[in-house]
Amino acid sequence: MATLSVCQPQFGGFSFENCKRNALLQGELTKLGCSVPAARKTGTTIVGVVFKDGVVLGADTRATEGMVVADKNCSKIHYISPNIYCCGAGTAADTEMTTQIISSNLELHALSTGRLPRVATANRMLKQMLFRYQGYIGAALVLGGVDCNGPHLYSIYPHGSTDKLPYVTMGSGSLAAMAVFEDRYVPNMEEADAKSLVRDAIAAGIFNDLGSGSNIDLCVITKGKVDYLRPHDEANKKGVRTGDYKYKRGTTAVLTKSMTPLDLEVVDETVQTMDTS
């Protein structure tokens, strides 16, 4: 139960010192006509669904930087613990680092308790961290896993609020994906049905949302087993060119040929071996 003392210098936490400098730089750059480099965001469609024996998590694989696709095949389903995985939408760096920090802390916690970690524990750790940063960490997460109390699925928002639900969607394509879920979700589905439902929901996001695209990754978590299917469905394969710009030798006729030998100096050649022991 620590309280922050006014006199002590702040250690840890977010340093706001650069915010003034950034604001000044932004002003300067706009005067010159350039723009501040944008943080890479995962436009994203991420979903999760609880079925009879576990949870299925799904994600697209497009990462955007403004209007340009920065990564055509990025991995949005992050490892938290052997029985818990987390999809991340929002700022790519934030989701990556947040999930890694909680994964590390959860491993230490599991070693301390001597038990397999619970999804509720990961949820608590994530929500308390995101709330502490008051929404400045732009990570919207879908957390799913199977523990001793069965399968669980949580959606976690950047400000630190969470919802425990049987099916969730997040990201810019979440509305398209939610439409599929609201139509076809039934409780206690079989694994094959759940996988097909998640695949269709992500596909809806990919084809109807500009910020989502490329392939569909799936992660099926059941008691004692995790199937990380990357890619599960290559929904957007790069097309094969039908024509060719190469011409056969002899297409262009040779009219004249002249050879000019170049005077080259031979420079000393030495080999220095590196100590690689």
Binding site: Q134, D163, L165, S174
Partner: protein
């Protein structure tokens, strides 16, 4: 015990009174993305209608089930009646993140206090813990909470802690953006000495009317009855809601 650090306020942050307009969170400090619609960057808020009523022997609490981010309904089956202790619940309205964090902190503090006392805690104690947190961090928080339950000393009690951190005990209390539409109904229909069943009908009717008129409230009606015997929870689905007009 979590620590709330002073943060740089965004110039666009807006405080709105819970009673008048549906409260929205502060605009988020992320780079604007042409793809991302409004609701991906808005804070999650429980638009809400919440209510609690005392009767002889306990309390009846009710709430709607809608959580919104901007114009999108993030969760249509939210449970806004959060247990704080065995016979103490709270209704949450305002920012979802703020109220969840406060409720978690108070649950911890009250559990600790109850173990120290070796007795069930008083509702007044729980309400004061909420008030302390909501008043101390009033600039950073957006939370309107109704605390209610049953204890041995004073029976059924309802305490309200609105935005700003005031604390007051009331026989009946309403909160959230939808409450403005039902003050008339509540003031005219509440009588002291109602039975448990009358309170249940009163609460269900009030929440349904608010859900009908307030865009930020909807879904199902969740109710909880807290008495010496324990807690009874019930849900009224959309098609079973009490009807007030045949138009």
């Amino acid at each position: 015990m979590f620590v709330i650090q002073n943060k740089l306020r965004s110039v666009n942050s807006v405080y709105t009174k819970m009673a008048a307009v549906s409260a929205m969170g502060f605009s988020q400090h992320l780079s604007s993305n042409d793809f991302a619609p409004d609701w991906t960057s808005r804070e999650v808020s429980t638009g809400t209608t919440i209510m609690a009523v005392e009767f002889d022997g306990g309390v009846v609490m009710g709430a709607d089930s809608r959580t919104t981010t901007g114009a999108y309904i993030a969760n249509r089956v939210t449970d806004k009646l959060t247990p704080i202790h065995d016979r103490i619940f709270c209704c949450r309205s305002g920012s979802a993140a703020d109220t969840q964090a406060i409720a978690d902190a108070v649950t911890y503090q009250l559990g600790f206090h109850s173990i120290e006392l070796d007795e069930p805690p008083l509702i007044q104690t729980a309400a004061n813990l909420f008030k302390d947190m909501c008043y101390r961090y009033r600039e950073e928080l957006m939370a309107g909470i109704i605390v209610a339950g049953w204890d041995k000393r004073r029976g059924g009690q309802v305490y309200t802690v609105p935005v700003g951190g005031m604390l007051t005990r009331q026989p009946v209390s309403v909160g959230g953006s939808g409450s403005s539409y039902i003050y008339g109904y509540v003031d005219s229909n509440f009588k002291t000495g109602m039975t448990k069943e009358e309170c249940l009908r009163f609460t269900a009717g009030a929440i349904s009317l608010a859900m009908e008129r307030d865009g930020s409230s909807g879904g199902v009606v969740r109710m909880a009855v807290i008495s010496e015997e324990g807690v009874e929870r019930q849900v009224i689905l959309g098609n079973e809601l009490p009807k007030f007009s045949t138009v």
